[in-house]
Amino acid sequence: MLFVVRMAARELRASWRRLLFFFICVAIGVGAIVALRSVIQSVRLGLMREARAMIAADVIVQTNRPWTAESREAVDKRLAAAPVLERTESVETTTMVRAEKGANVARMVELRAVETGFPFYGTLGLQSGRAYRHSVIENHGALVGPELLVQLGVAVGDRIVISGRPFEIRDVITQEPGRRVGAFTFGSRVIIDLKDLRETGLLTVGSRASNQILLRVRDDGVVPLTRRLREDLRDQFINARSYKALEDDIGEDLARAENYLSLVGFVIVVLGGIGVWSVTRVFVKQKIRSVAILKCVGATTRQVLATYVVQVVLLGLAGGLLGVALAQVGMMSIPASVAAALGGMTYGLTWSAVLQGVSVGLLVSLLFALVPLLEVRRIKPLLLLRGGESLPPPGAAARPRAGIKKTVVDFFRGLDWLQVGAAFLVTLGLVGVASWQAASLKAGAIVSIGFAVVAVVLYAASWVVVRAVMPLASTPWFPMRHAVLSLRRPGNQTRVILLAVGLGSFFVLGVRALQENLISEFSVEMDERGADMFLVDVQQDQVEGVRTLVRERQDKGAPEPRLVPTLRARVTGVRGRDVNLDSYADVRGRGSLAREYVITYRSNLERNEEITGGKFWDADTSSTGDNEVSIEQSIHERFDINVGDVMRFDVIGRTIEARVTSVRRVEWEDSRSGGFMFVFKPIALANAPHSFIGFVKGPSDPTARARFQHELVTRYPNVTAIDGREIIARIQAVVENVVRAVSIVGGVALFSGVLILIGAVAMTKFQRVYEAAILRTLGASTRTLGMMLALEYCALGLLAGLIGAAGAFGLSWAVTKHLFEIPWRPAPGLLAIGTLLTMVLVGTIGVLSSADVLRRKPLSTLRAE
């Protein structure tokens, strides 16, 4: 053992430079795993620590409907029986806000109205530095997000108008429990006193508000109280959640995110592993003579193998530690803005991430080095007498046979079964490591199988292309002929380079192609004729006024504003052919059928709708006769509800029965006309209290747009205008952030690919240097040799780029079709440019890292041989 360790150390002293790529390959993968895991673990720890602050209470009881005497009593009864220490109420809603004086604009905000005692946990940070007390907002005071000051052109002390009532800006919110900077919101935050909100008339029937009761509860009472409230009050649209459940949710979600992101790291480690495999393969070839000498002076195969395994372990460890250092550097360079967006946490490497990363690096190094290292067994000391420097093929003694059957027999005889067994073990090992990283055997297996498939495809592609270009080997142009021959030379790195660079370019191009698809989808959604502004909570008596105002302010030729009545309802029973649900409890047994639906009524079909069963009511008779409802295809399919069945609904407290008379299919992709699961015949609902949603094409000039919103809010304070353009800009910003993050990962993958490329080139250089020396002796110029190299690497790059582009093509198709469910647009320009760039990149790097081949004097090379 001592010999093995000493020998490994001595060998490393001499060959660490040649194996540099080995540990860089490992380091990048380990760095990716450690950094990704550490960031997410930091976020998780931080969020879990803040779980109480995030809901500002121990338990929060919440309903989207106004509290009724009945529902309040039901809640109070249960709270009275629990160890509740303190309670306070809060309402959250979206509404429009304008400045009393100042800029002529109005903005949608996320309004929160609170009582004394809020928040029980966490701090509401104020710009002035004073501590928040309820008295700050009492008597028509407001706290606002910093961006609202800019948007409305107001300052602390000025007044803003909410639902027609003036509120004085008393301070600016710098930190709010549970609300993160950079997270997606519909607008800036405004906090006012709940008492004042009740006076505004914003909380009318059908308005969208979340009514909350925040509770401080003795620790042992949190879980039972939450469970009890949930079970007892579900039928009344009341939900309860505790900080503990939030903790669990955060924990689970982030653990899942951590595991899946670690799989991305694992993919990079495997790319590194491919580098390790290629380096080890060439390394063993270079070490044939040394191994023979060791065997000649008495070392057993096991000792020699152990020597190299120890080297791999040391290098894998060194690579892992370098990876940890890289991760640390990476974490330190997370921009403050990103850190703030992720919750302003402090990030640091976590021990578990470091341990996992280093072990994965070590395991992958060992697994990938094992198969090529086993070649050591076949090295015979006799070659020292024979002067041979190549390995005898396994089963070399077997004579070649004729005929396919015999060829197959020879093929199997020629296999080194120990290596085949080792390869099998390595595969199992990789599945194991991947499953460990994903914390799921299925995910691990899928990733490993995916990798195997990609590897096989790339292998097959390289086989096909190498043969396809072979006719060029007989071209009279010397550099071309030799470049083509090089792709097939014994010990070539064609497959390794294709695999590494192909995967890297697949990552980068795939993500870019997806991004292009998503962005063009949003721009289509925002086409010139479509609605780009949505008016929410328009009351029945405001419909005509709003319609007139919109018409007056719209651009010429803009489509008519559409105001659609909406109500909220839930299914409480079904009497039907295939399904009978007597009570809401029965409906709940059918999963999502029990959820609250937004419904509408009208006398005609929309252009994105099509009847697939039954008959839609006539426009003329829609105000007379029985109640009828038209259901969407998916409701029909998922819940076996058919034409002729009778459904019972609870529409804001009123029970309405309606017969299903038609099944509609909604083209959801064309959602500008709106999409509803249940459409009622007007007779059923026209007299129920309800509000309207407006689909409006707003003025295209930004100033006119702002003025229009201001005017709308001044006249109809309860109406909220959601500016589609703004929302889409925000969504695009979120998408861009995601794309940036994925691109960084793709970039790291591509970088690994490039490193493997450099490594592969460096490892085969000794062979090239020798060939170049001979060619030079025979009269080849530097230019010819350079041309040969350039052609060879450009061909490799082109192929790798094509493979990556083909993968990206497939990925963007699959994800847009099946995950995002948006129309797929191939991005031929992007993929073509990507392929060309890959070619140029590989060509340049190939030639640059072979510069030595071109510079060396032939004599010194030949003498050394």
Partner: protein
């Protein structure tokens, strides 16, 4: 004593087999100097390789000090070479990544045991290379490299020393020094020395000369300590 009984060696070649050594019998007494001579391709190195256990015969038996080595596996043969047989090559075959001292240390460390460093130092002193012990092979001349190789071959004090054209890659003067060294070792340590050589001068000082041609022994000369059956 080294005994070869009916030893032959054939290798597959194209569609048939090629005979490198025809069946031969040979006995070499312990402590003598034996020279194997013959033209290129006559089977000299193959014969030496078989005796060293670097290759196994196609047929026949090789017995060293009463033990049949043909029955041994690869690792057992490696252990045999490590302890009982030293080998010197025409092209030295030092490990390029190790210093002179470390090259000599390798077989000592493989065999285990104490005092390896002291023993390696004294062996290097014996071949006159104490001053160069921390040099790498690339920093040594051909003669020096060969002397390191001899020191390495002697590391575990093997009773048998095999040398494949040990002077073949050296100039005449350096070659002389190496021959002196090898013969000196044979005398002082009573090591059996078997040499493959083209050098008639070297063959002349051997106790036994075995001449090969086309894989057959065509002549042997016994001075006193060797006999051929």
């Amino acid at each position: 004593m080294i005994e070869l009984h009916g030893v032959s060696k054939t290798v597959p070649s194209g569609s048939g087999t090629l005979t490198i050594l025809h069946p031969l019998d040979l006995t070499i007494q312990g402590g003598c100097v034996a020279a194997i001579t013959g033209p290129s391709g006559s089977g000299k190195s193959t014969l030496l390789g078989l005796i060293a256990g670097l290759d196994s015969p196609s047929e026949g038996q090789i017995v060293i000090d009463g033990a049949d080595i043909t029955a041994l596996g690869e690792d057992a043969l490696a252990r045999l070479r490590g302890t009982r047989i030293g080998f010197v090559f025409q092209f030295f075959h030092l490990l390029p990544s190790l210093t002179a001292l470390e090259n000599v240390l390798v077989p000592l460390e493989i065999a285990g045991g104490r005092g390896a460093a002291r023993r390696a130092d004294s062996l290097l002193a014996e071949v006159g290379l104490s001053e160069r012990r921390h040099h790498y092979p690339s920093q040594l001349s051909g003669g020096e490299q060969q002397r390191v190789a001899i020191a390495r071959a002697l590391a575990n004090d093997p009773p048998i020393l095999l040398a494949d054209e040990p002077t073949g890659n050296l100039d005449t003067a350096t070659g002389h020094q190496v021959i002196e060294l090898l013969l000196g070792i044979n005398k002082t340590r009573k090591t059996t020395l078997i040499l493959v050589t083209h050098d008639p001068e070297l063959a002349a000082v051997a106790d036994v000369t075995i001449a090969l041609r086309d894989g057959r022994i065509i002549r042997n000369t016994t001075r006193e300590a060797a006999s051929i059956t």
